[in-house]
Amino acid sequence: MVIIIGLSLKMKISAKIVSQIYYQILRIREIESRISKEYTEWKMRCPVHLSIGQESVAAPLSVLFKNKKYEVLSGHRAHAHYLGKGGNLFKLISEIMGKSTGCSGGRGGSMHLIDKDVGFLLSTAIVANSIPVAAGVALSKKIKKEKGLALVFFGDGAIEEGVFYETINFSIIKNLPIIFICENNKYSVYSNLDVRQPKNRKIHKMVEKIGIKSVFSNGLNAIEIYQKFLYAKNYVERKNKPIFLEINTYRYLEHCGPFDDDNLKYRPKKEIDFWKKNDPLTFLEKKYDKILNKKKINNYKNKISNEINLSFNKAKRSKYPKSSIKDKEIYA
């Protein structure tokens, strides 16, 4: 039997999927915005790297990879992936607030999230260092003949760390079931790709030459992203090989923290405007106006707003953990 894994963007998309994707983008947007707003009460005392603008990269998780057999790992900018994967909002907010009800018991903070129950394996704060860990997760699935695959999210900066290449190489040799997702927002902190990588480099083309199947998705269109993820999923599950996915996207706020930092002028106004004009939510609203009508959107907003209010309030009322430095906390 020949398996054909087509990558046709003309594939028919159901209204349900459009709605689901839209809903998830909206949800992540609203949650991150609320974090941004409440941050200035200075009660969330840990660094936060918000994903506003980049939500559509995470949204397909909620449709395609909800099952626990799909295991997600991420880096410092992980809220969206955690939420997309079905992570619990209350536990996320608790964690950022340092409460005992946090997904990492307040020990990890925004950059160290975990929720094994939904297959969100972990996120780490050192650029690129969860990439090989994800490959290990994929390897363990092969060894244990588990179904599913591993997904790991990282930025364009991570492409500059040697461990990225080492991991891609190894994943090819071992045919690991893993999707590598590079969320290319063109910046590492305040530094443009130009000072960090060769001009005109196409990351996915370079990566392809290492020997791994590589796919690019236009990040302006959340449905295209969804389709590329679907393709990637089919590719890995049917071919038993790893795949690399580059998605270009844009962060609206500052690298770390709750504000926008357009005043610092490290990003051209034209560039910012371009991305905001093509915001994923507006894009979908326009393109699928039949599906995404006012009423539906308002319903979504209400539902999300309720979820947010409940979670934030509960998190605020939750207790701080007590410190323990006993050996049994440090050694298993």
Partner: protein, 351 residues
């Protein structure tokens, strides 16, 4: 004209870099963020503008290669100052630091030198957490061929940085994020301070307190409280961890016969042990009371607000130990309820 000015630790570092870049036209200064709008907490302010992007530049996220690049420049007599915004990121480059930089001079029979300075900033507070707040001076000072300095104040920060840069050996220069905004009286001009000279911050006859970097801040507070309670502590600021000025410590304890060491590193394998062990080996009957080691617990640093409370050793720990040591109650006003996870009131996260 006054010989001093009153500037912050960060400004002092900036001045040291500025003067060094001016002095040596082949000196390079690079690291993540050195030319970005925040300019590494202002420590690299204006340097790129002044000295061109050839000499002062931002880098890719490639800590390991860029350390090797620095070593390559250094052996060719282009001195290098490389910066890590957190010490933790330098762990990616330990092969270069340990297998190359530290060994070249000896293993190539003194035929090449490696004048590279690696700035590492130790984070603290505001949820820096386990991977943004490690103070690993122990690891670096264990390696023959490396020097390790940890300035505690603006004047030392400036002079020791200039000395590090113009030292012909690889120097690990460890800054503390909570010192950057501290002001101090700083000597003007291109001035150095010999690496290996500890500094007596306060004289006293009853007790020797050894500290370094941000820990000296706590030692000074404790010193004042103790003084009011008729205990005269001598406070020694190590300045450099390697070489270690053991002589000055020995001299002090032969007078005070009592020793407390503050160490910002994890307890097991800390430099505090090196010092206590040396005291024991060289004059094992000298002390009237067992030496006290005050260090970070052997536990990853948690992120949450409540968890870091009482996690870091502070002046109260010193007082507590002194109460036992001198068998007396020591009275002091508890600090007004300042938040424990920021260096000062003006500080708002997240960085």
């Amino acid at each position: 004209m006054p010989k001093f000015k009153y500037i912050t630790y960060a400004e002092a570092i900036n001045e040291a870099l500025d003067l060094s870049l001016k002095k040596d036209p082949n000196l390079l200064c690079y690291g993540l963020g050195v030319s970005d709008p925040k300019e590494v907490f202002n420590t690299t302010k204006n340097l790129q503008k002044k000295y061109s992007s050839e000499r002062v530049f931002d880098i890719p996220c490639s800590e390991n290669a860029l350390t090797g690049v620095g070593i390559g420049c250094a052996i060719k007599k282009c001195r290098v100052v490389m910066t890590h915004q957190r010490l933790d990121f330098s762990l990616l480059s330990l092969d270069q630091i340990i297998n190359n930089a530290s060994k070249f001079y000896y293993m190539f029979n003194k035929k090449i030198r490696v004048p590279i300075t690696i700035r590492m900033i130790v984070g603290r507070g505001w949820g820096q957490g386990p991977t943004h707040s490690q103070s690993l001076q122990s690891i670096f000072s264990h390696i023959p061929g490396l020097k390790v300095v940890m300035p505690s104040n603006a004047n030392d920060a400036k002079k020791l940085l200039i000395s590090s840069i113009f030292d012909d050996n690889p120097v690990i220069y460890i800054e503390h994020r909570w010192l950057h905004e501290q002001k101090g009286r700083v000597e003007k001009g291109f001035t150095k301070k010999k690496i290996s000279n500890a500094n007596i911050l306060k004289r006293g006859k009853d007790l020797t307190i050894v500290a370094s970097s941000h820990m000296t801040t706590e030692a000074i507070i404790a010193g004042k409280i103790l003084q009011k309670n008729n205990i005269a502590a001598e406070i020694i600021d190590l300045r450099s961890i390697k070489p270690l000025d053991f002589k000055k410590i020995e001299k002090s304890i032969s007078k005070t016969k009592r020793l407390i060491i503050l160490d910002s590193g994890f307890s097991f394998g800390s430099i505090a042990n090196e010092i206590i062990s040396s005291v024991h080996i060289r004059s094992y009957k000298l002390l009237k009371h067992q030496p006290i080691k005050i260090s970070m617990p052997d536990c990853p640093v948690p992120t949450g607000f409540s968890l870091t409370k009482n996690f870091y050793p502070d002046y109260k720990r010193i007082i507590f130990e002194c109460e036992k040591m001198f068998s007396k109650k020591i009275s002091y006003e508890k600090n007004k309820n300042q938040l424990h996870d920021v260096p000062n009131k003006e500080y708002l996260g997240p960085f």
